[in-house]
Every structure is written in C-alpha cells, then in structure tokens.
Subunit: 357 residues, 4 copies
Amino acid sequence: MSMNTFGRVFRFTTWGESHGPALGAVVDGCPPGLEVSEEDIQPFLDARRPGTSRFTTQRNEPDQVKILSGVFEGKTTGTPISLMIENTDQRSKDYGEIAKAYRPGHADYAYDAKYGHRDYRGGGRSSARETAARVAASAIARLAIPEVEITAYVSAIGGDEIDRDNIDYTYIDQNPFFCPDHLAAERWEKLVDEARKDGSSLGAVVECVATGVPAGWGAPIYAKLDADLAAAMMGINAVKGVEIGEGMAAAALRGEDNADEMRPGAAGEGPEFLANHAGGIAGGISTGQPVVCRVAFKPTSSILIPRQSINSEGEAVDIRTKGRHDPCVGIRGAPVVEAMMALVLADHMMLHRAQVG
Amino acid sequence: MSMNTFGRVFRFTTWGESHGPALGAVVDGCPPGLEVSEEDIQPFLDARRPGTSRFTTQRNEPDQVKILSGVFEGKTTGTPISLMIENTDQRSKDYGEIAKAYRPGHADYAYDAKYGHRDYRGGGRSSARETAARVAASAIARLAIPEVEITAYVSAIGGDEIDRDNIDYTYIDQNPFFCPDHLAAERWEKLVDEARKDGSSLGAVVECVATGVPAGWGAPIYAKLDADLAAAMMGINAVKGVEIGEGMAAAALRGEDNADEMRPGAAGEGPEFLANHAGGIAGGISTGQPVVCRVAFKPTSSILIPRQSINSEGEAVDIRTKGRHDPCVGIRGAPVVEAMMALVLADHMMLHRAQVG
Amino acid sequence: MSMNTFGRVFRFTTWGESHGPALGAVVDGCPPGLEVSEEDIQPFLDARRPGTSRFTTQRNEPDQVKILSGVFEGKTTGTPISLMIENTDQRSKDYGEIAKAYRPGHADYAYDAKYGHRDYRGGGRSSARETAARVAASAIARLAIPEVEITAYVSAIGGDEIDRDNIDYTYIDQNPFFCPDHLAAERWEKLVDEARKDGSSLGAVVECVATGVPAGWGAPIYAKLDADLAAAMMGINAVKGVEIGEGMAAAALRGEDNADEMRPGAAGEGPEFLANHAGGIAGGISTGQPVVCRVAFKPTSSILIPRQSINSEGEAVDIRTKGRHDPCVGIRGAPVVEAMMALVLADHMMLHRAQVG
Amino acid sequence: MSMNTFGRVFRFTTWGESHGPALGAVVDGCPPGLEVSEEDIQPFLDARRPGTSRFTTQRNEPDQVKILSGVFEGKTTGTPISLMIENTDQRSKDYGEIAKAYRPGHADYAYDAKYGHRDYRGGGRSSARETAARVAASAIARLAIPEVEITAYVSAIGGDEIDRDNIDYTYIDQNPFFCPDHLAAERWEKLVDEARKDGSSLGAVVECVATGVPAGWGAPIYAKLDADLAAAMMGINAVKGVEIGEGMAAAALRGEDNADEMRPGAAGEGPEFLANHAGGIAGGISTGQPVVCRVAFKPTSSILIPRQSINSEGEAVDIRTKGRHDPCVGIRGAPVVEAMMALVLADHMMLHRAQVG
C-alpha cells in the first residue's frame, strides 16, 4: 500500500516526482492561529536546497514554496495547509538507459517489482527531492512547538568523525557540510572533493538534538516517541541506521554505567539528570532531557564508477550513473533529519494534550 | 496518547500489566482459514518465557495462552482473535520503596510525568512482560506468511561479538543465549555470570534475518518496510538502536563498496544479487534478498549496584533494584525481535496485495 | 479487512462471538486519573442485558464485567483497559440446520461469501451480543466527558410513534421498552406481544439526545461529528437509517423554516438558538445545542414464520429461526445507541483538545 | 482535530478554500497501471460544476483539473496522485458583513467556536466547493472497480418525489435536476423557480445505486460497508440523513416483510434474491445485490429572506445572504453522492483483497 501520510494528529501528506511539474505537502491537524507566511518556510527550504556548493548536486532548484490553503490573513485556520514547490530544473534528456536499467542501491528494481510501472526520470517518487516537501511541512510544525529548539548537524563523513570537544553550533550554518567542528569541516572538504573526483561517494552520520521538550510527550508501547522517531528517520532516503541516546553502543555498556542518575532539580522543576544515555526518552516517553538521535546515511548510490546490474528485460548491463548527484547525500540529510524531528515532536505534543489535557 | 495497537491491516492490540491478573493481545485483520490452535502459539511463548536458566529472571511464569475468539473448528474466521495469558507469579511484596522512587533507566519518572498515576508493581504497563502478548500474536502472523523463514539470534553481549564464520542456526535453540556460535556462548556464560554476581547487567545485540520475502513488499515514503521495522524494533523495551543491512557502518562506506550489484538470475526469477549491504530493502520496498536487521538492547536497568535518584516527592534517594531481573534483557529480546519481524512482514504482505492485487 | 477498532484518540477494540467463552473490549487512549470500578460499568450492561422481560430474548446472561488492566487503585492509568464478559448461557444444541442454511436478513451468507469459514453458533461474530462490549467501553467514555448528559429512548415501534408532548425522561427506565411516553408504552405492550405470538418481529426507532456538548467539538470535512456519529450508529446491528436533527425530513423544508436563528445569549455564553433543526451540529462541528440523532432498527431477522432461502450447498431450503430472539431488536438498541453517542463524543472531546489545546 | 483524509487503503486528502487560489485532492493507495488522464476526470467535474443552469449557483467555474503527480506515460504508478483545480471566479467584494455575522445553518459560528480564526470568504473551507476535489478523486476510484456501475439521481425536491415507475436512467443527464422521471423534472422546474424568486431554498433527496458489487466487500463490526457509506454521505455538506435499503422505513416493517428471501441462483453464481430491503448489505458486508443508499440534503442555508442572528461580537443582527447560491444544494449533491459511493467501494475492494487475497 502506498502511504504518503505521516503523523497521527499533526499529519502531512506529500506528493510529487523528481521530474514532474511540482511537488508538495498537505499539512493537516495544525493548530489554528499560528502566524505563518511563505517567508517563514523558505529559509528551511533554502538550507536543504541543492546547488549551493560544489559538495551538493548541481541541480539548480530555487525551491520556492507557495501556500495554497489553510492560512488566512497571515494565520493558520486549523484547516489543511497545502504547500507547493514547482520543479524548474528538470533537464530534458535521454532517459533511455536509466529507464530500463536498475541502478544498484536505488529503488528502481524494487519499485518495478512492486508496481510494474514507474516514473524513472530522476528516480521519480523515490527521489530525495520528495524531502523538500517534508522540510516545508516541518517549518509549520516548529511553530506549534515554539518551546523546542532543534539542531541537526553532520557528525561524520566517510568514517571521519567530528571532535565533540570542538562542537560549536554557530558554525553549523557557516560551512557547506552542516558541520559543527571547523577542523572536521576542513578535512571533509578534501575528503568529499576526492570522492567526487573519483566518481565515488561517501556516507555520513547526522546527529540531532532537541532541547526544551518537556517530560511526558510520547506514548507507551506502540506509538513511543523513540519508535516514531525511528520510523521517521529510517524513512528518509538512504538512511540505514537510527540510534537514540547511546544507540548501538548501549549494547556494550554495563547497567551501572548506562544509568541516568537523578538528583532533585530546582524548585518547581523536574529532576536534575547526571547523564543522558537514554537520549531523553524512557519507556517511549520524554524525560525532559534533550532528545538525541543519530542517523546513518549510506553513500550516494549514483556513482560514476561502473557497477554490474540488469535491465528490466533481465539482461546483464554495466551502469555508470551520470548526471548531477550529491557526492555525499548525508550532507543535505541534516535539514531533513531536523525536519522529521520537528514533525514528530509537534505530533506528540498534540497527542499528549489529547489524552492528558 | 496511549497507542497499544500496531499494524495497518494485520493489526494487534495488547493490554495488561506485569502484576495484573492477565495480559493479552487482540489480533485483527487476520486472513480467514488459517489452521491454528493454542499448541501452535505456545512454543513461541516458551522460547521467550522467563525462568528457564540462571541467565534470565527467576520469575516463573508458565505463560499459557488461551484463544478466546476468532478461531472456530481449528481455523481462523477473519474476525478478531483474542489471546490471553494469565499472570501467576506476581509475588506479593512490599512495593513501598519502588512505589515512590524513580528507578534510573526505567520509565517510572516519565510515566508519572505523563499520567500522574501509574501501576508501579513490577513496572506495570512498561514491563517487558507485555512482549509476551506480541510473541503470541506473532505466532498467528507467521501462519499468514508461510513462505517466510525468520531467525533471530544474539550476536553480541556486553560488547563481545560472535564470530560470523562460526554461525550455526541449529545451535541457537541449544543454549540459553540464543547464540549461533558455540564458542561465543561459552564465553558469554562466564560474562553473564560475572555481571550477575556483581549485581550489574549487560547490553546485547540481536540480529534478525528473514528469508523468502519476495520483492515488492513495502511502500514508498512513509510506510516503508524499513521504517515500519525500525518503529517495531525501537518500540521493544530497552532497545536504543536499529540497523538495516549495513546499518550505522554504511556511513563509513564508499558508493562502489556499498552497491549491491546484480546479475541475471535463474529463468523466471529475480536478479542474482552479489551483495546485500541494503539488508533486502531499497526505497522502502523488499528486493527479494534476505531482510536483515540488527537491534541494540541496553543493559537491564534494574541492578543491585546502588544508583542515585529521586522519589515522587522530589527527594534524593539511593536505589538498589532488588528482586528477580534478567542480567541481560537482550537475551530474551531475541524471540521478541523475531516476533516483531513476523508481525511487520505479515502486515506488509497484506498491504501489498491490497494495492497491487 | 476486519476492523474491530473504533475511534481516533479514545479508541476501543472489541472481540468475541455469541457462543465463544467470552467477549470483551480493550479501551485505549483513555485519560488517566478517572475513578472507575466494575460497579460503574455494570449498570449500563444491566440495562442492555437480555432476559429482563418477555419483550426481549430469553437468553439469560448476567453480563458481569471484569476489568483486567489499565485501572490501578481505583483510577485509570492512561494505559489500555481490558474489559471481559464471560458467556454463560450458550446452550448446547444441534446447529446442524443453521450451520448450513443462510437466514434471510442475517449476515450468514455475506460472511461466508467473504471469509468462507464462520462461527455459525448464534450468529458468531455478527451477533448483537458484541454490543455488550461497546456498552462496557462506553461507561468509561462517559467518565471522560462528565459535562455531557446522554439520553436515548425508543420513539417508535412498528410504526407507532410516541407523542412528543408526553415525553417524560424519568419514565424511560420504568418500562421494558425504554419508552418516555407512558401511553405509547401501553400500546407497545400489546403490539410486541402480538408480534411475538405471531412468530413475527417489529422494527423500531431510537432517538438520542446529548446535552452539555460545548460548541467546537468535531472536525471539518472527513471526521465530522455527524459523520462519525453516522458511522457509529449505522454500525450497530440491524440499523438501516441515521438522522441528525431534522434528518430525512429536512429534505422537505424550505430554507427559512430550517434556519436555526440565533439571538445574543447570556453574558459569557454562546448564542441563544431559536430552533435546533441542525441537531446541534453545523459543518461537522457542535454548536452548543443538544446533539440529536435518530436511528432506525429493522425488525429482528430471526422469526418463526418460514422464509425461503438456500444453504451453503446452494440448495433451496425453508427456514424458521427457532430459539431465543428479541421480538423487537430495537428495544435493546437504545442502550447501544446511547453507548455509541458517548464513545463518539469522548473521542471528539479529545480530538478537539489535541488540535486546539 | 482537522481530518481531511478519507479512506483506509484507497485514501484521498483534500485541501482548499472557496476563495483561495486553488483546491485539490491527493489520492493515495491507488493501484498501479490504471490508464488515466485529465480527460477521464473532467466529465465528472463538469457534471458537478456550477453555473450550468438557472437552478444552480451562477458562480462560473470551469473546474479544470490538473494532474500534478502519480501518473506517468498515461498510467498510474501506485504513488500519490495530486489533483489541482484553480479557482477563477472568486469575486472580489466587500465581505465586511459576512465576515463578522454568523449565517444560520452555516458552519460560521461553529468554526469560530472551534478555531477562533477562519476564512469567511464564501464559507472558506466549509464551502461545498470542496466537493469538487472529492469528485475528481472519485474518477480515479472508479477506474479501480470497473465492474461496478454507480448511478445517483435526485428522487425528491422540496418533498415532491419522483414516481418510481417512471424511472429512466438515460434521462438523468438530460435535465438540470439529475432527475430520472421526466414528469417530476417538469414539476421541479416550477418549484425551484418559485423558491428562487422567493429568495428561499429547497431540500432534496438523492438516491444512489451501485450494481456489480460482488458479495463479500465490507467488514464486520466497525468498518462495515454501510457504516463507511453512512460516514461518507453524512460528511457531504448539507446532508442530515442517510438510509441504506429500506432506511428509516424499515422501522415500520414486520420481520417477514423485511426478509430478503433467497432462491438458488444460476450455476456458478450466488443466490437469487427475491427482494432487496437490505440495500445490498448484511452484517456490514455486501451480498451481491445492488447497494442502495438514500441521502437527505437540507435546503440551502444561504437565502435572501432575512433571518435573525448574531455577529462575532455577540450583537444581534439580521442576515440576508446575498450573492450567488444554489436554490437547492441537493441537486448538485447527486454527483457528489455518486463520487462518495465510488470512493468507499474502491476502498473496500482493496480492503477485501488485503485480508482475503
């Protein structure tokens, strides 16, 4: 079943293909009375937008968002908000080869196996261009949870990690890698350039931290805050792993080292936690600590180095994926991870007050 | 919002607390005509059941399942199947301390912050006992997808990994660790014994492989097979990380190394894949390769080593969690991971045929 | 697809067959901290319970409800509440005939056409016994909306309507018909007796009024309060028509006669409405007036007068449905209509505060 | 909660206001490989379109639909289909009065009570213009169930009913009332003209018949085919009553008269039914007979005859709703009823094969 809607109360539905006339999102369930205009959404799209440096795809899309409904006199009305982004740089070209050959690592073969008919141009619906719609929707989600501050950054490229002692949030938007560590950014410049020149690509890790989330958001058992985040993150193109707090490393810890001990907090506040191995979530419910997640992006599947594959006739072919591609798709993943965090948290804020008032 | 239902077409709803009279699951959307009896479900519960070795909690529950509806003359009718498991070993004891103090790593504080009122006995609803209901439901899910074979095993305890060259599936059920490597099992015996004697606990990694999944299950964008698996796995008690295929390690690979190259397959079959970095899923849709996921369990939060915390009055306390606990909760996580894999796959089989016929 | 869950935030899932060991409901999404015990639920089950007069089926079920989870120290915890009612009066008898023959008006043929395998004993899952589970769930829903008063009564049997000038709510529970008009109740006694003696059955209309619903519950477009009520009511066994406010009669009115004119209300209150043709709902959202709906129950399909039918082999048969049946199933429909009103309103109260706070 | 999505597998989400730039629908879950173009959708929009006779509103909208996604090389791909209709005839006028005064019978007051902020221009989101999006979506739903034939017609206006012996389906599209009885159409011409000249309005009944629905679509208990139809129909603007088969009249029948007797059907077919009081649905599941429903539309609330009301300041006002309005909104309701029938049936076809295969 095709399922292009995400969320439970704060929901959004996206549509559109890489090379169709436009793509968009319909945001439903948004609280009324939030002040919003296209100018509030555009900066988030600009951050995700391709063509801003040599380290991202050279497809040049202005990604101008239009609000088509749900906002009146500058404020949300509580009815669905339709957001549309027109595609302008869909190069007309011969898709003959790609139309029939299945690119390894891409969804080409799986889509054909499922549907038997697909828009192969630029990956069609499976293109990461769809994430522009999520980013647009997330700008509205953020308005619903003004108390929450969300920051995502790239913490590793090609296995080369940032130094956590060097993290400087103000630097994130000042380099083409959403990197918070200026020394790492320098190294990555070389690393990504080399991969690009080799016709290869690199994977990356994106880390995301949300502060200001009060204790109590989330749900027991099957709509746990961490489970919903895991679904949201794993659903981003090219993501293969999701961690909350200690993540996979928790499996190597002993109980006493993994405990987030508590001390009495300031008057009228929750406990003071002495650690945050849990990443701000226990039993599926937020604890009041920062919500921390980490997401692994595989290297871009579109590479110039030839790979063996088959075509839709089942014949053996060799594929080099020419065209405009991100040498490291994880870089532009950072704004998308941030977007999904905002969308999940806004939904859970509303779910919480539905049940608890 | 409380959300105790999982799935889209093949759905199940669980209920029950650790120390209540019973717990159960209502399975809805099951295909009609499947032959099933309590004897088909019981072995899966027996595998997960506590008290079977000194490496698991000494709570002694027979976990006998009763079918209360939805099965007639030995076959499912397509109507909801109510499964109930009575709790028999809820020791009467003084919960005075635990009733008020928040155990670090547990959901105690978060539940109280959310709901203001909770059943603290044995963790109440947040107890891993709830997973018995999932395991029972999964036995029925398996019947809906007989073509699929699912195997889960523990691949690391306390950071000590199995040797992949030693994997022997037949050994998994012949040791108390669901370990496929007999050398690792020997080492773990010592490791877990030590942790238990120290009053400490250990984390673990569970790996799960599903073979026989045809290409085409899953969905684009927001009900991706990998996203649904991520939600299912992250929603298991104590899980902090989920990986599909290469998982977090994909972030350190280059594009040409991560590509799952394809060659023409046998006549009438899909392609022959030369690798499975993707873990059997591309673009959210199965490729026909084995579906592979890996799940990190944190060490059991209930330990005898005293930890600092607060109580519900906000006062500082020190906590030692006495009682019967798994020294490594990840061990009994293996049958639960297997259960969730079955539940997600059955659902996606049905979702697939809903749309595609 | 089998779908045994109702509601969006305040949800309940029912299970169980007429002649199985038990039936039940799992209530999910309930606010925490509501005081509830089995004694709060039982009176609603007693009102719906069979065998209380000669005008209802002689099946004798105590319908004792047990709370199996979700309530601790007398208060809801916000986790799922499992309610179970054991079946005690499933007479062992020869189902040979009914097992194979399709009773006209019943779901027998349709279930077989869908599922190919069904529990034919007493109608199995399609029996109106399932509504006991809804009634149990509704007792909890009422606790979530204490400001709302809901009253349902039978307003017509076999085409004989009450006189609206005679309506006396206090009389409803003092006669076997849930009739608010003592003169009508006298007439119905004769009417139903006659039908029963003839081996026939009668239809009925149930009217339901909810006061205290504030303006603003409901939703635009597809989860309209009236649409959700229509689904809830049409989903009750034997219901064939649902009306809100004027209902079908609205189609014969002129605009000026159908207008619910408004005058300024008391200070700090909403408008004073001069009429309630709308039945308290406009644009899918409550207006603050009483919510009024009317529901038509067809005559009981199980009758002694022989009817032509076929059996599962496709052979012609004549059917007389012997056994214990309600001569007018609409009578015991009144508590069920009341239950569904409560369940829908509790859900919409929570949906409202999810979006609006 | 705002809920602008309808359906379970075949889903659609609508957006847009009466006087915004555009409105649209996103259709999700559609089977792949269906041949569809804008030309297949347009005729249905043309049937619903305003301004085609003096008996409908004089708003002149071409209602040209654009397909923005989900269709490639003339066939659906299984991914979301975005449909957009631009608004062209939103007259710029002074909304001063209507902006503040609550029109009786309209959603104005209820929306304000809920959201506190609304687009008052032409009814905003509560305008029946939204139904254009449903009609567009339904054109695609029909392609998924080619075996089903759906016909809706107006069966009464202002209490004046058609003569069922005069029904001629071929006449429905040859008169401005979707009337199947040419004598009734003549009478209605006068009736509606008079109401229009009086500045009044009339209610209507729309009847809808779907043939070719096989036995077995639908679901037990809470997603019953009739319950889903009831929700779909009651959710249409101005609808106040929904009937399946005999509808409200079933309440006045005796059991033997209401029974749909069966005889053996032709070889390899289902039973021959001797009547269809049930309207083709028993126990929530289709029986193979024609699915029949009847829907009551109240008279248009916008009338020139002054009515008492209040404004948003709570002051008494008198309202005459000037502008372009349908004198009988039920007339253009016929294509919308037909649309909702198609949408519900397509969804249930897919739900059925999800569970049963």
